[in-house]
Amino acid sequence: MENILEIKNLSVSFNNEKVIDNLSFNLKEKENLVVIGPNGAGKSVLLKALLGIVPFQGEIKWKEGVKIGYVPQKFLPEKNIPLNIEEFFKFKKASDKKIKEALKRVGINDLSILKKKIGVISSGLLQRILIAWALIDGPDVLLFDEPFSGIDIEGEETIYNLLAQIEKDLNLTIVLITHDLSIVYKIADTVLCLNKKEICYGPPPEAITTESLSRLYKGGIRFHEHV
């Protein structure tokens, strides 16, 4: 498989403080990468650097012409913002057919949701809408920032199943950030443990050890490998 992303000596600093320190790794097409690490470890910043939202040093090279879909962590529309879901999709100049398709992919078949205001739907539903929104222009790569945060366990299960299904159907490359270790085993081909620097990297069974985790979380967490 060809590399879809090459990162060499990536560093990101805010106010002279290094948030990401000299990170290098490659991502192959169709590979699923899960990034784990404690709060403030630079996970979201890494995604933002990949998207070109934050300035960085080093090299980030995407494969030419690659289309990237992004589902951000923070998306909290005002409750009474007069924008309905259909209009939100129209921002992307999407046709009705495309919208319907994308909604179906995230398990929404009831199209009456299109007329609902974006600020009043539940966070789990909003998360699915955002995934559909990212899918609508047929991306090659999907970047997820904590897709399971702020959602109840049932919703988390739904989102996880959706991701697995989307991955299977569309054969995308997925980069996902999470603090939920159980996700790693379910979805990752490769895991990157990040705490400013690379702590571990590789296929989950090899990369995730009690030793690497204690270095990642500075001994604050114990992990028993699922059998």
Binding site: P72, P82, E86, K115, K117
Partner: protein, 240 residues
């Protein structure tokens, strides 16, 4: 012009910049003062000072770490103080609440042309600004140039403030932009309704204000705003 103001206002409400129009109205006051003192076009004077004010706010924003709101606050009281000193006493009321009788046909034609320009400029950036207000990260990830958007947006606000200030004056210009949008927000379920109502109420408020001025002889500016507030109260009753 009322329509363009309402349209722009609908955007300002969603971006939580409701009071920026207000503040910029005050920033324009010294410019109006100078224009009245030296006898040139009030809108032109206001526009020059608005550009200077916006530039100053932008400059301070990049040099200090204070929030835009704080900086706007500082610049706005500074301009207000300066404006009071500069503006000739007899003209002060005109500068503060506007005087529609001073508007010539040429002024009106220019106002219409600029309002149309603002209208189409706002139309171009509308969706993108809304997306920025929903999530800056998502907007940038979708190749939206936030700095450029904000510049166009601020210029549009400056233009509308400069135009509207002749009719409603420096104290009330903020209301011209915000009141129709606030009323529309109460009764709208989606963006299309919201935009339509903002424009319609902006126009109707202005027309009604001018009609009431013809009937009563009170200044058109305050009457226009009162008409807008009347619609706002009605919209509260019909709130969905």
């Amino acid at each position: 012009m009322g329509g363009a103001a309402g349209y722009l206002g609908s955007l300002m409400l969603t971006k939580k910049m409701a009071l920026v129009g207000d503040a910029l109205g005050h920033v324009a006051l010294p410019g109006m003062g100078l224009a009245l003192l030296w006898g040139f076009n009030v809108s032109a004077g206001a526009f020059v000072f608005l550009l200077a004010g916006i530039f100053l706010i932008w400059l301070l924003e990049t040099k200090t770490e204070l929030s835009t709101e704080t900086l706007v606050g500082v610049i706005f009281v500074f301009s207000l103080a300066l404006g009071f000193l500069i503006t000739p006493r007899p003209d002060l009321i005109e500068a503060l609440v506007g005087d529609i009788t001073k508007i010539s046909l040429t002024d009106a034609v220019i106002a219409v042309i600029f309002s149309l320009i603002v209208f189409f400029a706002v139309k171009r950036i509308y969706q993108r600004i809304i997306l920025v207000s929903l999530s800056e990260d998502l907007a940038v990830a979708n190749r939206i140039n936030i700095k450029k958007m904000n510049l166009v947006y601020l210029l549009a606000i400056a233009a509308i403030v400069a135009l509207g200030i002749k009719v409603v004056g420096s104290l009330l210009i903020g209301a011209l932009v915000i009141v129709p949008a606030a009323a529309s927000r109460n009764i709208s379920q989606n963006m299309r309704q919201y935009v339509c109502w903002s424009i319609v109420l902006g126009i109707v408020s202005c027309v009604l204000g001018i009609l009431l001025f013809k009937l009563t002889g009170f200044p058109a500016g305050p009457l226009t705003i009162l008409a807008g507030v009347f619609f706002f109260i009605v919209s509260l009753i019909f709130k969905k």
